[in-house]
Amino acid sequence: MADEMPAKPTYTVLLVDDNETILRALHNYLERKGFNLLEARDGEEALLIAECYPSIIHVLVTDLVMGRMNGGELIHRLVPLRPEMQVVIMSGYHDQIMVQHAITPLAPVLQKPFRPKKLLATIEEVLAKPESERTVAYLAQPLTTALQHAQASGA
């Protein structure tokens, strides 16, 4: 099925998850679907990789709850550095997803477990988004305000 995809530029995906099995499998899957893959096991490693990577990173696919730096902080630090980058969030925690949603309302969220096909469709969807709907446009408000907003609407 992947072979039927029309010829298009190779997109680069930065995949971040602290679960090795998931990281391996999704990496493998997306690579087969024609993406160029970068991977990291937590936010800090992802930042480091992004800093060293010389060309465009099209999509950041990140878990939320991770050891050294969580997905929320990663998004807030990385998106301003790479404004062209789109974000897709995945998480096994429902509440975490909701806090995140308040911070980056336009970033789609996949609740684990999901079929890899769904991740593929979501990535293709965010790649097709117009400039104005990119994640970076919604990071204008500071993180603290966004978090306060999230907490206020939750309490």
Partner: protein
């Protein structure tokens, strides 16, 4: 005991450094006032008999003073207590780790400890208590013991229940998260394997079976997450009537053919603060419960209306102890099924409680979690043979706003 005394003396030495005292140098009157105030406060606490309180003379090892609550726990009358010396050994059952000689030393050398233990009552019976010890830091060789009677029925069942639920929620939330990650690993790897299969491979069907099973497992973890109260941050203005209406087809297809389904939804119901997906889950779980209560034929009614909760009938609910008075959206799911006795009703929201041979007993526990996450309440009325009715109360949108702003 010798060691115990030494420890107590060390403690006394550090109690109130002279330098600090002279620094403060309060007037005598001020000091008297403070003492009197503090004494009055302590008396009020001591005499309130909310918990058993006793003082211990550590050098001679017996109780010097005890309040009525304490005496009632240990089964002594005040006269008996005053005429004889009660030692902590009299109260400690043999075999209790506290019976060990090191126990008093711990007490006087360190801070408060709280744990559950048993006391030996005067009549030889044992009684469960929550026990705490403190060493006053004013240098007297006196220990302070707290005892809380936790015999069944002594504590507010709502309190016990909510504590039990809370610890279970934390556990369930944690397990659900780990399971989601594990299931994700299974789904992703099976997908990779299936991608490699030659066209029309018989293994394709087996792979689909695995995926279907993991999706059922994922449904279970969603129930567990709901039970744990997850997702309360998603609350948005939602039209309850519209939400229930929107899943009516799904509801109909989830019940037995012999069951008549009736909707009685107020089209002008004010909006509530809710998570639409969780509302769907809640309705589906209640409907499934109703379906299971009906053997072959019967009626399930789903209604939504506005209900005024007054202060005197605020205790309508088994999940939240009290609902603040005010207007609520009431979602009611009633069935004409087998009904429940009171014993069953008390347990239905416990996770893994089920009256069925098959089933996981998470449906109503998830409902309870969702209700808690929505600051709502839930009540049940039922009688064996007369069907059951579940009433879920959701705060109306304006109620929420006036409460928070």
């Amino acid at each position: 005991m010798r060691e115990g005394e030494t420890a107590a003396l060390t403690c006394a030495g550090t109690a109130r450094p002279k330098a600090v005292e002279s620094c403060l140098a309060p007037s005598e009157k001020f000091f008297d006032d403070v003492t009197r105030k503090s004494e009055a406060r302590f008396r009020a606490l001591f005499d309130s008999n909310l918990v058993g309180i006793a003082f211990w003379d550590s050098s001679r090892d017996f109780i010097t003073e005890a309040n009525d609550a304490y005496l009632s726990i240990i089964g002594y009358t005040r006269a008996e207590f005053e005429s004889g010396k009660i030692s902590w050994r009299d109260l400690t059952p043999a075999g209790d780790p506290d019976f060990d000689e090191t126990a008093p030393r711990d007490v006087y050398s360190s801070a408060v400890r709280i744990y559950e233990k048993e006391y030996c009552r005067r009549d030889g019976t044992r009684t469960p208590i929550v026990f705490g010890l403190a060493a006053p830091s004013d240098g007297r060789l006196e220990g302070l013991a707290f005892a809380l009677d936790i015999r069944e029925g002594r504590l507010d069942p709502h309190l016990l229940r909510s504590q039990k639920l809370e610890s279970l929620s934390v556990l369930a939330g944690g397990i659900a998260h780990d399971f989601n990650n594990l299931l994700m690993g299974i789904i992703a790897n099976v997908t990779l394997m299936m991608d490699d299969l030659p066209p029309d491979s018989p293994l394709e069907g087996l792979g689909e079976n695995i995926l279907a099973a993991t999706e059922q497992a994922a449904h279970l973890t969603r129930q567990m997450l709901a039970f744990s109260g997850g997702g309360r941050v998603t609350l948005r203005p939602v039209e309850l009537t519209k939400e229930v209406d929107g899943i009516s087809t799904k509801i109909r297809s989830s019940i037995k053919k012999g069951i008549r389904l009736r909707f009685n939804l107020d089209p002008n119901l004010p909006r509530i603060h809710a998570d639409a997906a969780q509302i769907h889950q809640l309705v589906m779980n209640l409907v499934q419960n109703a379906d299971e209560a009906i053997e072959t034929a019967g009626t399930v009614t789903i209604s939504a209306s506005v209900r005024e909760v007054r202060p005197q009938n605020a205790r309508v609910t088994l999940v939240v102890a009290r609902l603040p008075p005010g207007r609520y959206a009431l979602l009611e799911v009633s069935d004409s099924g087998i009904g429940m006795d009171e014993q069953t009703q008390a347990k239905i929201f416990d996770p893994f409680f089920t009256t069925r041979f098959i089933g996981r007993g998470l449906g109503l526990a998830a409902v309870a979690g969702i209700v808690r996450g929505h600051n709502g309440g839930i009540g049940v009325s039922s009688e064996p043979g007369k069907g059951s009715s579940f009433q879920v109360f959701f705060p109306l949108e304006q109620v929420m706003q006036s409460a928070s702003g």
